[in-house]
């Protein structure tokens, strides 16, 4: 029978199947960070259980880390405790950890792919909803909760309820200046924040095939924002080229065997999806959010919608609340919205290509008066690479702050936060109320829009410069 890629990868990992029980799946890679792991390690300790496969587990410090003066002690006591707890847990349980200051430290979803630990056909989990990022390689990657983290640490498996499959096809080629971020924001606006619920989404079509690995990660990263359990893209030459030669990639004969196998994972001709969505790339343009969930977005060329534009009563009410929180009037052109802060970074858009794209726009220009721009690389390797290419200088010369790696203002667990009432254009993935700091207002944008916005001080695309 013709099967989808998600079904094939799932089948390959079933350890145990019994009537009336969820399948028990084997987990190939478990990524750990400081926020969702302390209670899991504590649980192991209380039960006297070891980590079954420390060699399939890797930890990094990302959510809490300051992005300045990273070699000094963390000023925030609670953040410091959480980091110290991870260090102790990693050493007690034999888990390899990339601490602050390590060249391999960074956001968990940037670190895994960059080391070649994320490969096609694997099952990857992390106590973090954006684990869907790793699906860009054709891996089945799920965000999990802390008790599941404990479960995986103890058993290297997870009981998983069955899923449905959805195909999101983007036909044609993307117009100039339109990026992966615009695709995924448009997809979420189309299907809604609950539209992907219960589904593993496979992104396909010419526009997706033409994307680089990093752009594919941006798309899969935000699958969770559509409510999906995971997002995937079939592995192809782009994938293989990206993986080959990375520190943990297979080598020699292993490489050939792996590629052979990876090719077999693609969705079979004629396999049926439970749901299909089709978008035309030619109709896409830079997309930004105006509301307080990632589905409340619109083309930059348009205006803030009115609650009355939404027929569905729940959406109507949500729009009303969002406009009040965002302090926006219906009908305001999105291009006229002024921001105080631009945040370029996160596991959605903190990779080298994102920094290159933004740097190209900002090069030789200045961040507008009264605007603060924070550029936070996704990992220390990204930072190193960016510096080698002179991008760090481009950002500092423009008046932006060029920081150390971490999650930073994506969720404001470290000192990088919006003040109440402040407004940002942010390349991250969530525009929830208070996400970037209490009372802060977030517009999600692509790196290109972020850079142009920094220069003009209002939401803008490079074409406006």
């Amino acid at each position: 029978m013709a099967r989808t890629m998600a079904e094939k990868v799932w089948e390959e990992h079933v350890v145990r199947r019994a009537d009336g029980e969820p399948d028990l799946l084997y987990i190939d890679l478990h990524l750990v960070h400081e926020v969702t792991s302390p209670q899991a390690f504590e649980g192991l300790r209380l039960a006297g259980r070891p980590v079954r496969r420390p060699d399939l587990t890797i930890a990094t410090e990302d959510h809490n880390v300051p992005t300045e003066n990273i070699l000094g002690p963390i000023a925030d006591k609670v953040s410091r405790t959480q980091i110290d707890t991870l260090r102790k847990n990693a050493s007690d349980f034999g888990v390899r950890l990339f601490p602050m200051g390590d060249l391999d430290q960074g956001i968990v979803h940037v670190v895994g792919p960059q080391l070649g630990l994320t490969q096609p056909g694997m099952t990857v989990v992390c106590g973090d909803s954006h684990t869907s990022t790793h699906g860009a390689f054709g891996a089945l990657a799920f965000g999990i909760g802390t008790s599941q983290v404990e479960h995986v640490l103890a058993t290297q498996t997870l009981p998983m309820p069955p899923f449905k499959t959805m195909a999101v096809t983007v036909d044609g080629s993307l117009p100039e200046g339109v990026t992966a971020k615009d695709i995924i924001l448009a997809v979420i606006a189309e299907i809604g924040t609950g539209g992907g619920q219960g589904y593993v989404i496979e992104y396909r079509g010419q526009a997706v095939r033409e994307l680089s690995m990093e752009a594919r990660m941006t798309i899969c990263n935000m699958s969770i924002e559509a409510g999906a359990r995971a997002g995937m893209i079939a592995p192809d030459e782009t994938t293989f080229d990206y993986v080959q030669g990375r520190p943990h990639a297979p080598r020699g004969a292993d490489w050939d065997a792996a590629v052979e196998h990876w090719k077999s994972l693609r969705t079979d001709e004629g396999a049926a999806f439970d749901k299909e969505v089709v978008l035309d790339a030619a109709e896409l343009s830079p997309f930004v959010t105006w509301g307080t969930n990632p589905g409340q977005g619109a083309q930059l060329d348009s205006a803030v919608p009115a609650p009355e534009d939404f027929a569905d009563p729940a959406e109507h009410a949500a729009a009303e609340k969002a406009l009040a929180y965002m302090d926006l009037d219906a009908g305001t052109r999105l291009r006229d919205i002024e921001v105080d802060t631009v945040f370029l970074g996160s596991c959605t858009n903190g990779r080298i290509e994102d920094l290159r794209a933004a740097a190209e726009v900002i090069k030789g220009r200045k961040v507008a008066d009264g605007v603060r721009m924070l550029v936070v690389p996704g990992s220390m390797r990204v930072k190193e690479q960016a510096n080698a290419e002179g991008l760090g200088e481009v950002f500092t010369a423009a008046g932006a702050e060029w920081r150390e790696a971490g999650c930073s203002m994506c969720l404001g667990m470290n000192p990088d936060q919006l003040q109440p009432g402040e407004r940002s254009a942010s390349t991250s993935n969530r525009n929830f109320e208070g996400r970037q700091g209490k009372g802060g207002r977030t517009h999600l944008v692509s790196p290109l829009v972020a850079a142009a916005t920094a220069v003009r001080g209002t939401l803008s695309s490079p074409a406006d410069l």
């Binding site: 084997y26 008790s147 619920q197």
Partner: protein, 196 residues
Amino acid sequence: MEKFTVHTGSAVPLRHSNVDTDQIIPAVYLKRVARTGFEDGLFAAWRANDPAFVLNKPEFAEGSILIADTDFGTGSSREHAVWALQDYGFKAVLAPRFGDIFRGNALKGGLLAVVLPYEVIERLWEAVEADPATQVTVDLQAREVRAGDIVQQFELDDYTRWRLMEGLDDIALTLRHTDDVDAFEKQRHAWLPVTQ
């Protein structure tokens, strides 16, 4: 884990769709390393800033069943959202639809997340708003929610129901199948990466 069979208590109507886990418990509370005491973080922003927020009304402060709106618990995977609800005293959350990860976390941790049709949720809101002392029963045995003349069956797979009714921890259940895991590991592809 506490066994869950039948729970009866007063309820809290939360008429607000798309309540993401950042609203259930803001990120600052995630810095803790303990497993208990998250009740102060529950809906912290709303409780602090909005006098009209339902938990700020004395008549609803003591409820143990949350009647939520569509897409409750979307967003981040933080299990703290479940702990905060439980630490505050909630035993069950009823909603037309949940964020997947949240629902999974809840059912794992013994917080019963029940999907009910929107019309039933609306009737429950009305009943509870009309009389905050209305007793709502969540009966896992019968897979039924009852309040006054409202009686509604709900779906929950047999396995999860059994596990919740027995109060069984998932890890202990899986460890019964260690032989299967050992056997599986022997046939994994040789090229798969290791981290150390």
